[in-house]
């Protein structure tokens, strides 16, 4: 649960020397233990949800996290529609999936930028965030906002994607594909990135299973979990794509999985656009009279993994209980395995590799000496250490 933005950027970063989330206890160069504190971002959302009507809850859950802002309304809509037994229209399915996949692309690009920054490749950071902008513009054209789109409602979507917008979307996608090729080429072939990320922050299949980790974190260790395929919703039963996995479980595998997933997302969107053209314009909602008593489970595949919402209803206008579990809740706990035994200079990239959603985590880490508890270095210094290591490796390799 993050308080401060922990997007540390180059020589300028908004980090402070305050209690951090992760305390890395170090013996010399090696990390021996991790302790974390959280609660800085606790906003009491589940309780707030009980005092809002079902329609209002969508606006609330969108703001749980800004980066994966669609996946929470998605899962919530799935849960409520399950309680009420609502069957949504095909056009709704396509629109929902398009928004979800566009978000996956922009989220992965954001992450690639950050990972590049932690490794010392600030150019990658600037490029990746620049290439995100056309997608945010697209969101603005379709939904009216760059983030927090307010597209979902019970039984449908609020705004239609008119057929005359489809060609703009296609053009933007083909641009994004070219830029993704550029970025993928730059990242995957770089020997220094290989040296910094291969064998680092490894999570085995057993670790994934023990912590219940999900999303690209799990898929990079060979555990093929993807809610879009396992528990299909929206348009996913109507389109086809590959679930990308890797076997090694290290940071490089996680980078690879995320980069390749972007191509699959582009393919899904193109298929959904084709589906949109075949469905009648404007057919985007079904009438819902009331939500009966009962309980429902909604899941969605966010860029970081499985989002789980459990809603209990008593027939009134507000949920009685709304349990929300974001993927970072289980993924972050895996730090205990992936960081222990590593050197401090690898700590930041290992931590960043599970793509912690910043609102579910805090600023990064601080390193403490295991014997004296004395602070060795703060987060800014940890990142500088990571940069130094990249420079050393560069000298050795090139």
């Amino acid at each position: 649960m993050g308080t401060k933005t922990l997007i540390p950027i180059g020589p300028y970063h908004p980090l402070q020397e305050e209690p951090e989330l992760f305390k890395l206890f170090c013996d010399g160069e090696i990390v021996k233990d991790i302790k974390w504190e959280t609660g800085y971002n606790h906003r009491g959302i589940e309780k707030l949800s009980e005092s809002k009507t079902y329609d209002q809850v969508f606006f609330l859950v969108e703001r749980i996290c800004g980066i994966c802002s669609t996946s929470h309304p998605f899962a919530f809509a799935n849960a409520v529609e399950e309680i009420a037994g609502i069957d949504i229209t095909d056009r709704t399915r396509y629109i929902r999936s398009i928004i979800g996949e566009l978000e996956r692309i922009h989220s992965h690009l954001l992450w690639v930028g950050l990972a590049g920054h932690f490794l010392g490749y600030n150019t990658v950071f600037m490029w990746a965030w620049k290439y995100r902008e056309p997608i945010l513009d697209l969101f603005e054209k379709i939904t009216g906002n760059r983030n927090s789109y307010a597209m979902f409602k019970v039984g449908g979507v609020r705004r239609d994607i008119e057929n005359n917008k489809i060609s703009t979307i296609r053009k933007t996608l083909s641009d994004v594909k070219k830029k993704t090729d550029l970025l993928t080429g730059a990242v995957m072939d770089d020997p220094v990135i290989h040296a910094r990320t291969k064998g680092v922050g490894v999570l085995t299949r057993q670790d994934i299973s023990d912590f219940g980790a999900v999303g690209p974190t799990a898929r990079a260790s060979g555990v093929s979990i993807d809610i879009r395929r396992d528990d299909p919703y929206a348009a996913y039963p109507l389109v086809s794509w590959k679930v990308i996995t890797a076997e090694e479980g290290d940071v490089f595998a996680k980078v690879k999985v995320r980069l390749l997933e972007m191509y699959e997302s582009i393919s899904i969107i193109e298929q959904c656009l084709g589906g949109l053209e075949k469905t009648p314009e404007g057919d985007i909602a079904v009438k819902v009279n009331e939500i009966p008593e009962g309980s429902g489970t909604g899941r969605a595949e966010a860029p970081r993994g499985e989002v789980f919402h459990f809603v209990v209803s008593d027939g009134s206008n507000s949920p009685v209980r709304h349990k929300i579990r974001a993927p970072s809740y289980v993924n972050i706990a895996t730090f205990k395995k992936s960081c222990i035994g590593q050197t401090i200079s690898d700590a930041t990239i290992s931590l960043a590799a599970v793509d912690p959603c910043y609102c579910c985590t805090e600023r990064m880490a601080v390193a403490l000496d295991i014997n004296s508890g004395r602070k060795l270095m703060n987060a800014k210094e940890l990142i500088e250490l990571s940069l130094k290591r990249t420079i050393e490796l560069k000298k050795k390799i090139t």
Binding site: E37, G39, D231, A333
Partner: protein, 145 residues
């Protein structure tokens, strides 16, 4: 089909512990069990039946504290809820965190929000409440008249 099989096997292994089965659809089912059996059932589901622990959710109702342990069978998309009711006066239940790490944080959180004691939890310390609300206050409990 698969779901029926999973539930049948569960009932056979834990004949006396299973109180009620509600199957909503092929991918959603709830099994109510006795609270004392939760660790053995979770062990069976995780080790033998190959389910993944998603999360646990607690709810305060007139019957007491109801906890749903949500498990997922990824090969079929089934979400199996294991439901227990524990009494309001002395709310405690065995912790699952000695079986796997996936439940460690959520049990600490439920402890802070509802005041339920998870027995033998490896580190039942504060997770989110430090500075946010006082000791002995359990904000998600409801007041029933």
């Amino acid at each position: 089909m698969e779901t029926d099989l999973v539930i049948e096997k569960l009932k056979k292994s834990f004949d006396t512990e299973v109180l009620k089965v509600t199957k909503k659809s092929e991918r959603r089912a709830t099994v109510s069990v006795k609270p004392e059996s939760i660790v053995r059932i979770a062990e069976y589901l995780y080790k033998t039946a190959g389910l993944r622990f998603i999360i646990a959710s607690a709810l305060h109702t007139k019957r007491g504290f109801e906890i749903n342990y949500h498990f997922s069978l990824d090969s079929t998309g089934l979400v199996l809820n294991i439901h227990v009711i524990i009494n309001r006066e002395n709310p405690q239940i065995e912790s699952l965190s000695n079986l796997f790490n996936a439940s460690n944080w959520i049990e600490r959180e439920i402890h802070e929000l509802f005041g339920i004691d998870f027995l033998n939890h490896p580190n039942q310390e504060k997770l989110i409440s430090e500075g946010n609300w006082a000791e002995g206050v359990y904000p998600y409990r409801k007041e029933f008249k």
